[in-house]
Every structure is written in C-alpha cells, then in structure tokens.
Subunit: 310 residues, 2 copies
C-alpha cells in the first residue's frame, strides 16, 4: 500500500516528504506522483489537490486534509463520492489560532493601531478604551478553533457571544444561531472574529448586510477563509466608517496579489494565511494515528459530513 501527498506547493512538498517519511517508516510515501502506479494508493494527504486527481485513485480509502478546513477538497468537481474525508485537528493548529485570535482581539481592544498613529505624529495622548467586561467580542463558529479562542478570550473577561449553525449551549456567553440569529448577534458585537468553516451556507457571509448590522466602528478579524468575505463590501464599509478596521489572514485569491487594495488600505492589516500553519511533523503524527485507527476499525477523528461539506 502507499500514501500519496498532493499539493501545488513545491516548498511545502519537500517539508512534508520528510515529515511523512519519519512517521511512516515502513510505508511507500509518494509526493505528487502518478497517475501511473496509483493502484496501491490507499491514503491521500492533500492541500488543494488537482481537480480529478483523487478520482483517478482506484483503491483510495481515506482523504486527509492537511488544514483544519476541507473547502479546498470540495472544490474538486470530480471528488469521489464515497471516500471518507478527514480534516486536520491537532493541538498545534488550535494553539496557533488561539494565539492569533487573542493577540488581534487584544490589539483592537487596546486600540494599538490608534496609538501607532499617535506615535507617528509623536503625540502622547491617553485613549480610554472600555474595560474587557464592556467590550463585546463575537465569535462566528464554535468548532474546535472557535471554542478554543472563546476559552482563551473568556479568561480576559471579555463579554462574549457566538453565532452557530444550530442552537447549542455554551457556558461562556449567549449563542445566537441560524440565519435569524445573525443580525442580533452582529448588533451586540464590537470585535467580530470569523472562525467558520467555508461551506455553501457560509460563503460570502461577511457582506454589506452583515456589516450594516454591526455597531458603528466595529472591527473584523477573519482567520477562517477568504470565501467568507465579500472583499468589495469590506472596503466600502471601511470607507464609510461603519467598520473601523480589519485584520485579515485569508483571501479569495491567495497569495494576495500585489496591487490588491487590501495591501495599501491603512485600516486593513494583512497577514499571509499564517494564523495557523500546519507543521508537517505534528500533522504527520496526527494522520498516522488516524490511519492506525482506520485500520483497527475505529472511527476517524475529524471525519467530515459530506452533505454539509464540513
């Protein structure tokens, strides 16, 4: 049997080859190989697999995403229908995302960009942000990542709420759910953090209508997927002052092209999809454990519901 790693990134492929080979000493690890000799490939480990490539593996048993999201897998129109798809859940992904969210929520909360503007003018002036119990942070999505971010933010005393697909209990704040819960959720949110999976239901959810429901001067942190955001709507909302600022880690087209207005908009902080980087060594360990579970007939961790595409 063999494990096939598929990615468009040459740099990443080299680092993954090392990570996988260390974890699977006795297995045949192939990187971007085939389609000849594909008959013995049982497991595919993928990031943005070439469309049609997975369908050409006759004995594929499981598809492993190397990211927390699987939208890049469902983007393949020829995706095999009956092969289980697994997203990556590992502590390293989660802790990095928590760092990113806490850091950026605190940055906006403490008005650090305003202090940077004052400092550029060599001006010493105190701003008076509210204390955390009076700062309303709203998290979209309470999956592994959204929940972890919520736990960490709660320790700072923020006033938390969340928006989820279906109603649920959450000890840390009010949960709004479904399409009818969206506007009330946004209406009480000063700092909006998107941690949703990208599915047909959530595509374009960060749009002009959502921004209009936020309080004047709210800020957006999108560390989920570029597809959640209607980019032109955000630029307009920043222009009118409806939104005060945005921190964006993900974009409709990545890498973000030189000349894209986000790069030069002073109200937008761009990071290059680094909120949570997959470390090949840690991820290969997680995948190895999951393959062992599969072979032992145990349930896979992170198994995706194909109907929901998450």
């Amino acid at each position: 049997m063999a494990i096939l790693f598929l990615t468009p990134s040459v740099n990443s492929a080299a680092r993954w080859a090392d990570g996988l080979r260390k974890e699977f000493e006795d297995e045949d690890i192939r990187i971007n190989s085939g389609p000849e000799g594909d008959a013995d490939v049982e497991f595919a480990v993928v990031w943005k697999p070439p469309p049609g490539r997975l369908a050409a593996l006759p004995n594929l048993k499981v598809i492993f995403s190397i990211g927390a999201g699987v939208d890049h897998v469902f983007a393949d129109p020829d995706l095999p229908k009956d092969v289980p798809i697994v997203r990556l859940i590992n502590e390293t992904l989660t802790t990095q995302m928590t760092e990113y969210v806490v850091m950026n929520v605190l940055w906006h909360h403490r008005e650090m960009d305003d202090y940077a503007i004052l400092a550029a003018a060599e001006t010493w002036r105190h701003l008076h942000p509210p204390r955390t119990p009076d700062r309303r942070v709203g998290i979209m999505g309470l999956g592994v990542l959204g929940s972890a971010a919520g736990d960490a933010l709660a320790r700072f005393g923020f006033s938390l709420a969340a928006w989820t697909r279906e109603p649920r209990d959450w000890p840390l704040g009010e949960v709004f759910s479904g399409p009818e819960g969206l506007a009330p959720f946004l209406g009480r949110t000063d700092i909006l953090v998107c941690q949703l999976p990208l599915t047909p239901e959530t595509t374009g959810i960060l749009n002009a209508r959502s921004f209009a429901a936020l309080p004047q001067g709210a800020v957006l942190i999108n560390a989920a997927r570029g597809g959640h955001l209607v980019e032109s709507d955000l630029l307009e909302a920043l222009k009118t002052g409806r939104l005060k600022g945005a921190t964006l880690d993900v974009f409709a087209d990545e890498p973000l092209a030189p000349g894209h207005p986000f790069w030069s908009c002073p109200k937008v902080r761009v990071t290059p999809h680094i909120a949570s980087l997959t470390y090949p060594d840690a991820a290969a360990r997680t995948i190895a454990r999951n393959i062992a579970r599969f072979r032992a007939g145990e349930p896979l961790i992170g198994l995706v519901d194909s109907a929901r595409e998450y």
Copy 2:
C-alpha cells in the same frame, strides 16, 4: 478628618474628585488644596506629589499611591519617615497589565512587525517562528503584576523563566535571582518583559551589559518604569542588531518629548504609559477598603517596605 488628593494632572484631578466623592460620601475630600487648613488631613492619595507637600501635613496617617509603583512618592526628598505608604493593588490594574504583556509578547512571538514590513512591500511570505514551547520568555519581577503575566503566558505554552531579588519557588519556570542570576537569566531569554518595581537596586538595570547578555535578536518589553532603562544603551543595542525590537510604555521623562529618538525609531513601539491605567472608580474603592481596614486596626494591603522603597 479629611482626604487630600495630590496630582500635577488637572484632567486626572477632576476624574478623581468624582471617584473619591462617590466612595467617601461623608468625608471631606480635597483636591490639590492647602497648605492652609491641613491639620485635619489624615489620608493622602497621590501621584507625583509636590516635593515637601506631604511633610507639611501634621496629622497624616497613610499615604496611598494611585499607581502600582511608589517610586514617584520616594522621589520626594522630604517624604515623612514614619507614615506608612501603600501602593495600589487592584484587579483592574492587574488585568490591564496582563492584557498588555500577553498582547505584546504574542506580537513579537508571531513576528507581526515583520509581517507589517512585508505587507508594506505587498509581499506574501511565510515566516516560520518557533512554537511557544521553543520561545523563551523571561519576566523580571514576580510581584502581583509579574506573576499574573506569567500565569497568562504559561497558558500559551511559552518556555518561562523569571528573575527576582531573592530566590523563590515558582511552578511555571526556573527562577534566577540576585545580581549573579541576572546574566544566566538573560542568556536564555528571547522576549524580555520588565515588571520590576523601580528601586535604587533596579534603577538602570536595562543597560548595555544586560543587553549584551541577551541572545542576539532578543526583544524588550518595558511596562514597568522608565528609570529601569538606560535609553541610549537601548538605541545602541537596536542599532547593532543585538536587540531586534522594543515595546516601551514608560520613559525617563513623561510625556515623551516630541523629537525623542524613540518616536521615530522603526524598531521601537511607543505607548504613552497606558499598559495599566488607574480607573478612579475602581481605585477609590480599593483605597476606601484599605482606609476601613486601617481604622479597624487591620493590616493595610499593599504596605510598602520603606527600606526597600517597595
């Protein structure tokens, strides 16, 4: 009896008058008054009191600092010798400082200033910072503020150590102590956080010799007092690259004057002594509780050791 509030800041005086009067409805609250009619002043609440002013209060029972530090009180050469001095310990001060330290440690850890430079050049590139267990954060001072910062940083998994005046146990990392512990502590510290009180022993402790003991490319976060830092030594260490950057909230002379080189140095982030702002309402409550303790013959919370000036 009367309570006298002394501060050079007119803005702050107005906000304090409200806070104190709300808390002490039946007491005579005076703001920057006297020296006539001082005989009934029992308690002084102070920020940078005018030298000699406290000595002119014949029946003074306690001096309350409205900051966590008391160096601004000891700066008075005529400070009465036998009047207890109390520094402010309250949750609002502590939580704000924890926010500031965590935010800035994460900012340096995740190399956000480097990403800002890349973004200004419209360049999409991944940096590969170590994970938190491989990032060594060193805290100088394990008082109320340093301990709280340590607790919060430990939750992110950083490799922690601390430097203190005297040896002590600390469950979160190694503790180095005394003059002989300083160089080894600095030698294992990538991100240095100063949370020391300013005393004769700690004045100027952030100097060229200390910077030389840090690993190449370390960063400094000073949220303690400007007097801890030899400013010209920091500028030199940034110039040579010994230090990669610094986040400074406090300065030898505040407000930091226009034209001071820190404002325009791209490796220095200046904030205007806002890491932990005293909120008059919360602080007045803390002081009121302490006055009640004093009248009941109970020990004061935050009582300063005059020999150590902290």
